[in-house]
Amino acid sequence: MIDPSVFQLVCFYAFAAVTVVAALGVITLRNSVHAVLSLVLTFFSTACIWLLAEAEFLAIALIVVYVGAVMVLFLFVVMMLDIKQEHLREGFIRYLPVGIVVAVVMLVEMLALIGVRTMHEAVMGANPATAAGLSNTQWLGQALYTQFLLPFEIAALILTVGVVAAVALTLRHRGGTRHQTAAQQVAVKATDRVRIVKMAAERPATDAPAQTQNPETKP
């Protein structure tokens, strides 16, 4: 009854529809927090589509990296901003031509990519992971760490440089800030902070009974 391929197709269209609607929501919703959440939904349904295409590693990496970390920080920033929502609509007509040009260029590029892929179907062959009898993640790992090790390491290096550069650009040393040195805090001994004084519990009897009365009790 439920043909798996038909079910897969229905799922694909459902996920694709959610992706498109959510992507539209990103650029049309007035509330910027809602827009960010819409982007999260876009990523999530894109991951679902990738799962259907048996790219399980990419799909889960998309959720872990983008949904789980990047978008959380994004949301973090957007919540902190106090955006006047009416100002957001300004300049829509002014930037419309630029937007249309970008959209058309992207459309042409995507169509070209689809054309190239269909033409090279024979050249590219079947899914290499299934051909090798491995899971998608395993095959991707083996390809990245053997065949493409050098490009992979270079990419890692570039990303590290990017992180260091971003920190170096934004790090400002202000004068007058107080820092705590954890090493010093750990090295503290009880004798540095508290002085234990030994003394008798009661005054010696020879001591003059000065101020036995409470000075507050005046007539």
Binding site: I60, I63, G68
Partner: protein, 342 residues
């Protein structure tokens, strides 16, 4: 045709209920156990009025919370305010799908199980952030901000800990990870020995990731009254509570599966009866870790916020990165026989 519907639809739903209902019941009993244990540690009785030994206290609390009114704060974002508890609960429950209870008992024996767990645990933070923002309250927003920064920081350390396990086990499948820890020497075949620092860091990160004491600055009842859920009442609050405790139990199970051999017995396989693997072993190990959560809460004062960040970024992440290299060397040069399954 009817049989096919049964196989594709009805049985999975029954299996899901077989996991979800015990998890919810476990949360109820865990709350009771927490109050009892902390009571004993404070030299108090703990709940002892409702039911024998106070066992029905958790259920009384649930009924109380369910019949209370859910109050919507002034000019709160209504949609997100009601959505946030669900966003916290859904990942907490969904993550249970890949947990193997013994050799055969697993709902979804997926190849990328560990990745799926990482994805699900990283989604839970949305519930907290949105709850904080949608409540339209200063305290809730402060709690949400603290929580977001903390969860993201400790997720990195946790992910690197998982990498160490993956390197030794050579698989992302949780059942295979447990099988890699099997062998004739029982307890000495577990990953906790070659990965001891990582094991400790993993559990501490788990405590921080679930926003539990001593890392509970997101709630910080003495500073920001209750953090992200200060405005929530009734059943919405109950859902946050459920998600938090389900996450704690999940972290306990994961620590048992990844580092302490899951359902495998601590005794050598030559010992009769006790040497056999069973899900009772898994429950015993998970119970031990769940107990640690309560022990921590009763023992330690709350960390200061900058100390939490320092611990995560400057202590845990460097140690785990070094240990990833060490684990790689262990595997490559064959320094340890653990993980080869022999």
């Amino acid at each position: 045709m009817g049989e096919q519907i049964l196989n594709q639809l009805v049985w999975p739903i029954i299996y899901i209920l077989c996991i979800a209902v015990p998890v919810i019941l476990a949360v109820a009993m865990f709350v009771y156990w927490e109050r009892k244990v902390i009571g004993w540690m404070h030299v108090r009785m703990g709940p002892n009025k409702i039911g024998p030994l106070g066992l029905l206290q958790a259920f009384a609390d649930v009924v109380k919370l369910l019949i209370k009114e859910v109050i919507l704060p002034t000019s709160a974002n209504k949609f997100l305010y009601y959505l946030a508890p669900l966003l916290a609960l859904v990942p907490a429950m969904a993550a249970w799908a890949v947990i193997p209870f013994n050799d055969k008992m697993v709902l979804a024996n997926v190849n990328a199980g560990v990745l799926y767990l990482l994805a699900m645990t990283s989604l839970g933070v949305y519930g907290i952030i949105l709850a904080g923002w949608a409540s339209n309250s200063r305290y809730a927003l402060l709690g949400a901000m603290r929580s977001a920064a903390q969860v993201i920081s400790y997720e990195l350390a946790m992910g690197l800990c998982l990498v160490c396990v993956l390197v030794l086990a050579g698989s992302l499948n949780l059942t295979d990870i447990v099988h890699a820890q099997s062998g004739s020497k029982g307890i000495f075949e577990w990953f906790m020995w070659p990965l001891l620092p990582v094991f400790v860091i993993y559990f501490i990160s788990g405590v921080a990731e679930t926003n539990r004491a001593p890392f509970d600055v997101a709630e910080g009842e003495s500073e920001i009254v209750a953090g992200f859920h200060v405005e929530y009442s009734g059943s919405a609050f109950a859902i946050f509570f459920l998600a938090e405790y389900a996450n704690m139990i999940l972290v306990s199970f994961l620590a048992a599966i990844l580092f302490m051999g899951g359902w495998l017995s601590p005794f050598p396989s030559s010992v009769p009866f006790l040497g056999q693997g069973s899900f009772f072993w898994l429950f015993a190990k998970a119970f031990f870790f769940a107990f640690l959560f309560l022990w921590f809460r009763a023992s330690f004062p709350r960390y200061r916020y900058d100390q939490i960040m320092r611990l995560g970024w400057k202590v845990f992440i460097p140690i785990t990165i070094v240990w990833v290299l060490v684990a790689g060397c262990m595997k490559y040069f064959g320094w340890v026989s653990i993980g080869t399954g022999g």
